[in-house]
């Protein structure tokens, strides 16, 4: 059994997401605004962290 084809809006292109930030204040829905702010904050933290953050991942060889 097959389902009709969905489209994924998962934003894996960081530059596209960053472009969206300029429209953030135009978002009316409270939940979307709150969650987008949270994800933007997460990305900001990521981009300001050192490339090999020792406390973020456990490396196994």
């Amino acid at each position: 059994m097959q389902h009709s084809s969905p489209e994924s809006a998962n934003v894996d292109d960081k530059s596209a997401f960053d472009e969206c930030a300029e429209h953030f204040e135009e978002i009316d829905n409270l939940w979307v605004k709150k969650i987008v702010a949270s994800v933007m904050g997460e990305r900001t933290l990521q981009s300001s962290a050192p490339a090999s953050e020792p406390s973020t991942f456990v490396q196994l060889l």
């Binding site: 389902h3 809006a9 998962n10 596209a16």
Partner: protein, 406 residues
Amino acid sequence: MRSVAQKDGPGTTRFRPITTYILKIASRCNLNCKYCYMYNLADKSYRQQPPVMARDIVEATLTRTLEHSRRHNLRSIMIVFHGGEPMLAGEEFFRYFIEAAKARLEPDVTPHFYMQTNGTLLTTQWLDLLAELKVNVSISLDGPPEVNDANRVDHQGRGSYERVAEAIKLLVNYERVSSPTKILTVVNPDSDSLAVYRHFQSLGSAGIDFLLPDATYDNPPPGLEHDSEHTPYADWLIPVFDEWFDKGDGRFGIRLFENIIGLIFGAKYSNDNIGGRQGNNVVIETDGGIEPLDVLKACGPEFTKVGLNVVDDEIDKVYADPLFRMYLGSEKLCAKCESCSLVDICGGGYLPNRYSSSNGFDNPSIYCKDLIKLILHIQERTLNALPPEMRNKMQVRAQPQAVPSA
């Protein structure tokens, strides 16, 4: 098979360090909920567990958490008191544990304390203690009396609603409460979802999370037949989402919906039941056993017994265990999930829901069709709520291939 654990190159997989310790401080419960993975599904190993975590196990647990935190430069951790019913461990245990934890861990590592309880034993005296010890409390309840008491009963078969509702009232009105009260609830597809949602709002809590019943292919959830086109769980959740999304004031959170919206926008972290992001928690049993996700007990007898114990083993050993690696790294998804355009949002769903005795975890979630329907609905509503310029830049990717069925 697909891996969402971070890969740095051949032979190298990086996992997150463990920052959340779910402590089974009591292995018995004063309730006997019909769907409980601890007591009423495939695993009965609680019968061999000490009823309450002994002090030598507490000491060993703290030694291992400090060791792991120092090794991975962690400055804070979460300790979640869990069970069974954790309050059966008694007030003295809580005071002893938290004083011992602070003495052992601080100042290098700051522990933050949480408790998931059925609420039936909560009193003002307990609240005073929990406030003093800065323990955040979350309660389990499934809805109004007729919904909750269909499954959440005591050992005499009596419903628990009245006692739990009283506990929530105590918590909500308690002025020294250290954080807003949150509720965990298991979806009952036979109930009126909007009535359930509105009931939770009326209780005054800060938010809820909807959990799907702990099901596997061997033990399918109520109302869901394998290979059926019915999506009872999505059909139950979608009206709630719409009302919450359209009329919510931004304060009463629903974690499942918030997680899905975050994942649509590419959130790096989520809860372990949606998104397939890397995990960061372990379970410590009352006998000191170090185990992965407790809900995996739904998959079979002693399923979570991986042979590790805080007395003998450091926490880092979990990264070498196949079941831990599956859970913490979401290492392997089935071919059907691999080819699905929604996999970055659902992540294959909750690991136990993928299990069958014939095929292991090499299945899509038994809730696959429900998850697809729910995610697509939330995605459409979320995108339509964006300003047009923003929506246009989101680069919605059309996927020509069909999504395989579960």
